[in-house]
C-alpha cells in the first residue's frame, strides 16, 4: 500500500483510532492497492481549534498590554528621579526607560483596528465603536509640540494645529495665565483643543518630546542637514536652580523648568491611567473584553486577521512608512524626537508575526505561545498558504531588520527617507508588507471568515 508515515502525524493516528476510522490503510493489509492515507499536518496538532486560537490571542494581548503598563510604570519612576534630580545620568535613564516602554507597546498595535479595547473602550467599561477608545491619548502623532513647549522655527514639517484659529496662546508650559496649574487634568483638557486632531498633548510622544526635544539636525535650528542623533534638549531645561533654560543657552525663569517637570510627570501619570483600563479589559477570565472575545467565534477570528491586515497595510506600510517617505518630513516620522522610528516599524511588524505564530516574548523573557492561525490553516488543509504567509512575515521582519540595523549603526529612519521616493531599504519594507497583506486576505478567505462582519456598521446608531 501507498502508506507514507511521514505525512501522518501521531496526533492524526490517535484521532483516527479514537474515531470510527474505516480503512485508512493503517493496517497495511491491502498493500499498495490500499487507499492513500489522509494528509498529515506536519506536526501540528489536529486538535487545534478556532477557540484555542482565540484564547492564545487574548492571552498574548493581556501579556503585551501588561508589559506596556509595567514598562510605563518604570518610565514614571525614572521620570520622578530625573525631575527631582535633573542631571545627565538621570536624563539618560529616563530616556532609556522610554525606549524600553516602546518595546512591548509597539507589539500591541496589532490589537488595533479590530474594535478592541484600545480603539473602542468607553469610559464606562463597555466596548463602543472605533474612536471611543484611548488610543489617540496614548499614541497619537504627530504631536502638537508647539502647544506644549518652545519649538524651533521650522523642523521639516509643521507642528502647529490645522488652523491657527485652534492654536493656544503661547505654549502650555510657558502660559501661566491660562494654565496656572499643570497637572493631568489640565493637560488632558488641552488634548485636541478646538476639536483639532493635531492638538495632541498627551501620550508616549509627549513624554518623548519632553525628554528629547525637537530633532534639530546639524544646524541646531531644524533646517540643516539631518544627522544621526535625535532631539537636542539640554538637561538644563529641567534645572531647578538659576540655570534653567528653554533650549541651550536660552536662560529662563526657574518656574518654566518646574512646570516642564510637572508636565513630564503628569503626562506619564496619564499614560499609566490610560493603559490600565486596557489591561483590565484583557484580564484573563474576568476581563470584560477577554470574556467576550474568546467566546466570539468567527467574529473574533476575523478581528485577529483584521488587525493584522489593517496594521500591515494602512497604518504601517501606508501612513507610518510611505507617507514619511513621500513627504520626506520628520514631522511625519512616528518617533521623530528620539529617532526611534526604526523600532516602531520593527515592533509593529513583529506584532503581526507574533499574532500569526501565536508567540510573544515578554519583557522578563517568558515566552507565551499556543494555538496559532498557522496551525489553524494547516489543520484546515491550507498547508501551502500557511507556509507562504509564514515566509512573508519572515521576509517583512528581515526587511524591517535592515532599517533597524541601519538606524543602530548611524543612519536613522529620518535620514533613510531623505532620498525621496527611491530609498530602497524603506521601500523593501513597504513591499514586504503589501505582500503579506495579500496573503492575510487569502487566509481570511481560507478560514471562511469575513473581516467586514466585525464592524457593526448598521443603522441602529441613528
Amino acid at each position: 500500500m501507498n502508506f507514507n508515515l511521514k505525512k501522518v502525524s501521531v496526533a492524526l493516528l490517535m484521532a483516527c483510532s479514537l474515531t470510527a476510522c474505516v480503512d485508512d490503510g493503517d493496517d497495511g493489509q491491502a498493500g499498495i492497492t490500499g487507499e492513500n492515507g489522509a494528509n498529515g499536518t506536519n506536526g501540528v496538532s489536529t486538535f487545534v481549534t478556532r477557540d484555542d486560537v482565540l484564547k492564545t490571542n487574548a492571552n498574548i494581548a493581556y501579556a503585551a498590554y501588561s508589559d506596556s503598563l509595567i514598562a510605563a510604570q518604570s518610565l514614571r519612576t525614572a521620570i520622578t528621579t530625573f525631575v527631582a534630580l535633573p542631571n545627565e545620568i538621570n536624563m539618560k535613564a529616563a530616556k532609556k526607560a522610554w525606549i524600553d516602554s516602546r518595546e512591548p507597546y509597539g507589539q500591541t498595535e496589532v490589537y488595533r483596528f479590530r474594535v478592541g479595547p484600545i480603539d473602542a473602550l468607553k469610559d464606562d467599561g463597555t466596548i463602543g465603536e472605533e474612536g471611543d477608545g484611548p488610543e489617540g491619548k496614548i499614541n497619537a502623532w504627530p504631536l502638537g509640540e508647539a502647544i506644549i513647549d518652545y519649538v524651533a522655527v521650522e523642523v521639516d514639517g509643521d507642528s502647529g494645529p490645522e488652523t491657527p484659529a485652534n492654536a493656544l496662546a503661547n505654549n502650555i508650559i510657558a502660559n501661566t495665565t491660562d494654565f496656572p496649574t499643570i497637572d493631568a487634568a489640565s493637560i488632558a483638557g488641552a488634548f485636541e483643543h478646538g476639536e483639532d486632531e493635531r492638538n495632541v498633548t498627551t501620550g508616549y510622544h509627549a513624554v518623548e518630546f519632553l525628554l528629547w526635544g525637537q530633532d534639530l539636525n546639524t544646524d541646531l535650528a531644524g533646517a540643516g542637514t539631518r544627522d544621526s542623533s535625535g532631539g537636542q534638549r539640554p538637561v538644563t531645561d529641567y534645572a531647578l536652580d538659576g540655570t534653567c533654560t528653554s533650549g541651550a543657552g536660552n536662560t529662563v525663569t526657574p518656574t518654566t523648568c518646574t512646570r516642564r517637570g510637572q508636565y513630564l510627570t503628569a503626562v506619564a501619570d496619564l499614560l499609566i491611567a490610560d493603559l490600565e483600563p486596557i489591561v483590565n479589559a484583557w484580564e484573563p477570565v474576568t476581563g470584560t473584553h477577554y470574556k467576550a472575545f474568546i467566546t466570539g467565534g468567527d467574529v473574533s477570528l476575523a478581528k485577529i486577521l483584521e488587525g493584522m491586515g489593517r496594521l500591515s497595510f494602512g497604518e504601517l506600510a501606508g501612513e507610518r512608512i510611505n507617507i514619511a517617505l513621500t513627504t520626506d518630513s520628520q514631522e511625519d516620522e512616528h518617533s521623530c524626537f528620539s529617532d526611534n522610528t526604526h523600532r516602531d516599524i520593527f515592533l509593529n511588524a513583529k506584532g503581526v508575526q507574533n499574532t500569526f505564530n501565536a508567540q510573544y516574548t515578554r519583557i522578563d523573557g517568558e515566552v507565551i505561545s499556543g494555538a496559532s492561525i498557522y496551525d489553524l490553516l494547516v489543520v484546515g488543509g491550507d498547508h501551502e498558504l500557511a507556509n507562504s504567509l509564514r515566509g512573508s512575515l519572515e521576509a517583512t521582519m528581515s526587511a524591517a531588520a535592515v532599517v533597524d540595523t541601519k538606524a543602530k549603526t548611524g543612519t536613522p529612519f529620518d535620514v533613510l527617507i531623505q532620498e525621496g521616493i527611491e530609498q530602497p531599504n524603506v521601500v523593501a519594507v513597504i513591499k514586504a508588507l503589501v505582500k503579506q497583506t495579500d496573503e492575510i486576505e487569502q487566509a481570511i478567505d481560507a478560514l471562511g471568515v469575513s473581516a467586514g462582519d466585525i464592524r457593526q456598521d448598521t443603522e441602529e446608531d441613528i
Binding site: 491657527p164 486632531e197 501606508g318 507617507i323 456598521d457
Partner: protein, 557 residues
C-alpha cells in the same frame, strides 16, 4: 428648462424601447393591416435618470440611504469624515483612505509662498464647512476670496485668488508675521500676504405674510492693506466659505447627459427656473465637459477640484496646476518659491499623493438620513409632512432629490499602490450604479442681485489712494459680481443638501450659503431670489408650523 426634473420628458432610448415592444407585440403576420393599428401607449413618465418620478407624498424606499453603498451611519462630529463599510472592509482601500486622510489634514512642507490656509482640513474643518471670521479684525482662515474684473479676467498682479497669508504665518510660531502690510511686498524682497479681507454685516429686517418677523445679515466685503499695490480697474470680489467635502465622488459619477437633460436655459417650460449647465475646460482631456464642482461649477472633476485647491488655496504646486501661488509680477513670492524643497519631483506634491487625496475625497461617506426608524421602516411624520411641503413649494425644481450614478472610473492619474501609480485604474464599485439623494441639479441658476465696488476709508469717505483707502464691495442679494467660466456675477450652482442637518454637529461654528452669511437654514432659504423668488415666496406663505416642518425635513437630509 425643457423639463422640471421629475415630471419630465422621456429619454429617447426609453421611448424607442417602449415603441419596439409595442410594435412586436402586435403579432399576427401582418396580413390584416387595418387591425394592427398601434394603440397609443401612454408615455411612461420617467425622470431624468429613467426612474419613476418621486412624488410628494411617497418616500422612496431607498431615501434613508442618500449615498447608496457609500452611506455611513454616524450622526456625531465624525459624520462627514467617515469611511464607508466597503472601504473599511478592504485592507488596500482602507489603507489608501487612511493615507489620503493623513495628507488631507497634514500641512505639507512646501505650502505657500502665499496661501489661504495650511492644509485641506484648515478650511474643511473636520471635513465639514469652514468658519467666517469671528470679527472684522480676525483673519479669514477657512474662506477664499476670488478675484476678477467685470469681464471675468484675473488681476495681472494678484491673479484670480487673494491669498491673505505668506508662508511664515503657518511655518513660524508668529502667525501675524505673514499677514499683509500696505505696499509691504512692493520692494520685491519681503513677502507678506496679499491683502487683508474682512466682512462687516448690515441687518436686513423682514416679515412673513403671517406677521412673523425675521432678520438677515447682509455682508459687506472690505479689503485693506494691499501688499503689492492696487488692484486692476473694475475689480470684483467673491468671498467663499469651504463647503463640506463628502459625497463628491458620487456627484462625479452621475452621467453628464442626465444633468444636461435637466437644463432649460430659456425656461421653455415657463416655471421660472432656467438652469444652465456649466461647460468648462477639463484639464486632463482638454475637452469641454460639464462642470459640477465649486460654487460656480467651474471644475469638471474631483481631481481637478483637489489639485486646484492645492495650487490656489495652499500653494502646493502639482502636475495639474504646476505654478506656485505667485504671479510673475510678485517677485518676493517667486523668490520664496525657489526655496521650496520639492520632494521627489519637480512639483511640491507628487501625483501619487494627489491620487491618494482624490481617492479620500471621492470615497468619504454620505451620512444616513435622520428621522427614519429602521426597525419598522417608518419615517417621522413631521419629516414626511416637511417633505411634501418641500415638493409642493417646488424647491425640488433645482434641488433635484435623486440621481443615479454610472460607472465611477478610477483615477486618471493611475491605479493606486503604495509604491507608485500603475496603469489601468479600476472603477470604484462603491460609487458606481448607485441611487443617490443629493438634492441638487448641479446646474447654474441666476439667484439675482448685483454688486458695486467702491474705494472708501474706514469711516466711509470716498478715496482713491493711500494706506487708509480700502476696497469695499456691496451687493444686494446673493450676487458676487464675479464672472467665472460660464457663470455670471449672479449665477450659482445649486449646492447639494445632503448632510446639511449635520453641518453644525460637525463644526458648531459653521454657517450656510457660499459666504456663510446665513446663520440658519431658514435664513438661507430667505436669501433665495432671482429664479428662486417664487419658491421663496411659497415658503414664506406657509404657516409657521409648516415652515418648521419644511426646515425639519431639510435638517433630516
Amino acid at each position: 428648462m425643457k423639463n422640471k426634473s421629475y415630471f419630465s420628458s422621456i429619454q429617447p432610448t426609453i421611448i424607442l424601447g417602449v415603441l419596439s415592444i409595442a410594435l412586436t407585440a402586435c403579432g399576427g403576420g401582418g396580413s390584416n393591416e387595418t387591425k394592427s393599428v398601434v394603440t397609443p401607449t401612454p408615455e411612461p413618465i420617467v425622470d431624468h435618470s429613467g426612474l419613476s418620478p418621486l412624488i410628494n407624498n411617497t418616500v422612496d424606499p431607498k431615501e434613508h440611504l442618500p449615498g447608496g453603498d457609500a452611506t455611513v451611519f454616524k450622526n456625531n462630529e465624525d459624520a462627514f469624515s467617515t469611511r464607508p463599510k466597503m472601504i473599511a472592509d478592504n485592507f488596500k482601500l482602507d489603507g489608501f483612505f487612511t493615507s489620503g486622510d493623513h495628507l488631507f489634514r497634514t500641512p505639507d512642507r512646501d505650502i505657500g509662498p502665499m496661501l489661504s490656509t495650511g492644509s485641506c482640513q484648515g478650511c474643511h474643518i473636520n471635513d465639514g464647512r469652514g468658519n467666517i471670521p469671528a470679527s472684522p479684525t480676525a483673519p479669514m482662515l477657512s474662506m477664499l476670496l476670488k478675484l476678477g474684473n467685470n469681464t471675468g479676467a484675473a488681476d495681472p498682479i494678484y491673479g484670480d485668488q487673494l491669498q491673505p497669508f505668506a508662508v511664515q504665518s503657518f511655518k513660524t510660531p508668529d502667525f501675524s508675521s505673514g499677514i499683509s502690510i500696505h505696499d509691504g511686498s512692493i520692494n520685491g524682497t519681503e513677502l507678506y500676504g496679499e491683502a487683508f479681507p474682512f466682512i462687516v454685516y448690515e441687518t436686513i429686517n423682514g416679515t412673513y405674510p403671517d406677521g412673523t418677523s425675521y432678520e438677515l445679515r447682509n455682508p459687506i466685503y472690505k479689503i485693506k492693506n494691499l501688499s503689492f499695490g492696487l488692484f486692476m480697474e473694475n475689480i470684483r470680489f467673491s468671498v467663499r466659505i469651504a463647503p463640506q467635502a463628502f459625497g463628491v465622488g458620487l456627484l462625479d459619477a452621475i452621467p453628464a447627459a442626465n444633468i444636461i437633460s435637466l437644463a432649460d436655459e430659456n425656461d421653455t417650460d415657463g416655471n421660472d427656473i432656467s438652469g444652465r449647465a456649466s461647460m468648462a475646460l477639463d484639464v486632463f482631456s482638454g475637452e469641454t465637459k460639464l462642470g459640477r464642482f465649486a460654487y460656480k461649477a467651474q471644475n469638471t472633476s474631483v481631481l481637478q477640484q483637489v489639485a486646484g485647491a492645492y495650487g490656489g488655496d495652499i500653494g502646493i504646486s502639482n502636475s495639474i496646476f504646476p505654478n506656485e501661488s505667485c504671479t510673475e509680477q510678485q517677485q518676493a513670492c517667486q523668490m520664496a518659491a525657489d526655496q521650496e524643497s520639492k520632494v521627489g519631483s519637480e512639483h511640491d506634491f507628487s501625483d501619487k499623493n494627489l491620487a491618494l487625496v482624490e481617492f479620500y475625497n471621492r470615497t468619504l461617506g454620505v451620512p444616513a438620513r435622520r428621522g427614519f426608524d429602521k426597525n419598522n421602516s417608518t419615517w417621522d411624520e413631521n419629516i414626511i409632512a416637511g417633505r411634501k411641503l418641500f415638493f409642493d413649494t417646488q424647491c425640488v425644481d433645482c434641488h433635484t432629490p435623486r440621481h443615479v450614478t454610472g460607472e465611477a472610473k478610477g483615477s486618471v492619474l493611475g491605479k493606486l499602490t503604495l509604491t507608485g501609480l500603475e496603469e489601468n485604474a479600476e472603477p470604484i464599485a462603491m460609487l458606481s450604479e448607485q441611487t443617490i439623494f443629493p438634492y441638487t441639479d448641479l446646474l447654474l441658476h441666476d439667484m439675482g442681485g448685483s454688486c458695486v465696488v467702491t474705494r472708501e476709508t474706514d469711516i466711509g469717505d470716498s478715496c482713491t489712494t493711500g494706506a487708509e483707502c480700502m476696497y469695499v464691495q456691496r451687493c444686494d442679494g446673493l450676487a458676487d459680481g464675479l464672472i467665472q467660466g460660464d457663470a455670471s456675477g449672479s449665477e450659482w450652482k445649486t449646492p447639494a443638501l445632503w448632510g446639511i442637518g449635520l453641518v453644525k454637529t460637525v463644526n458648531p461654528k459653521a454657517t450656510f450659503l457660499h459666504d456663510g452669511r446665513a446663520r440658519t437654514i431658514e435664513e438661507a432659504i430667505l436669501w433665495h431670489d432671482g429664479e428662486a423668488e417664487s419658491r421663496k415666496e411659497a415658503f414664506m406663505a406657509l404657516s409657521q408650523e409648516e415652515r418648521q416642518q419644511l426646515i425639519d425635513f431639510v435638517e433630516s437630509l
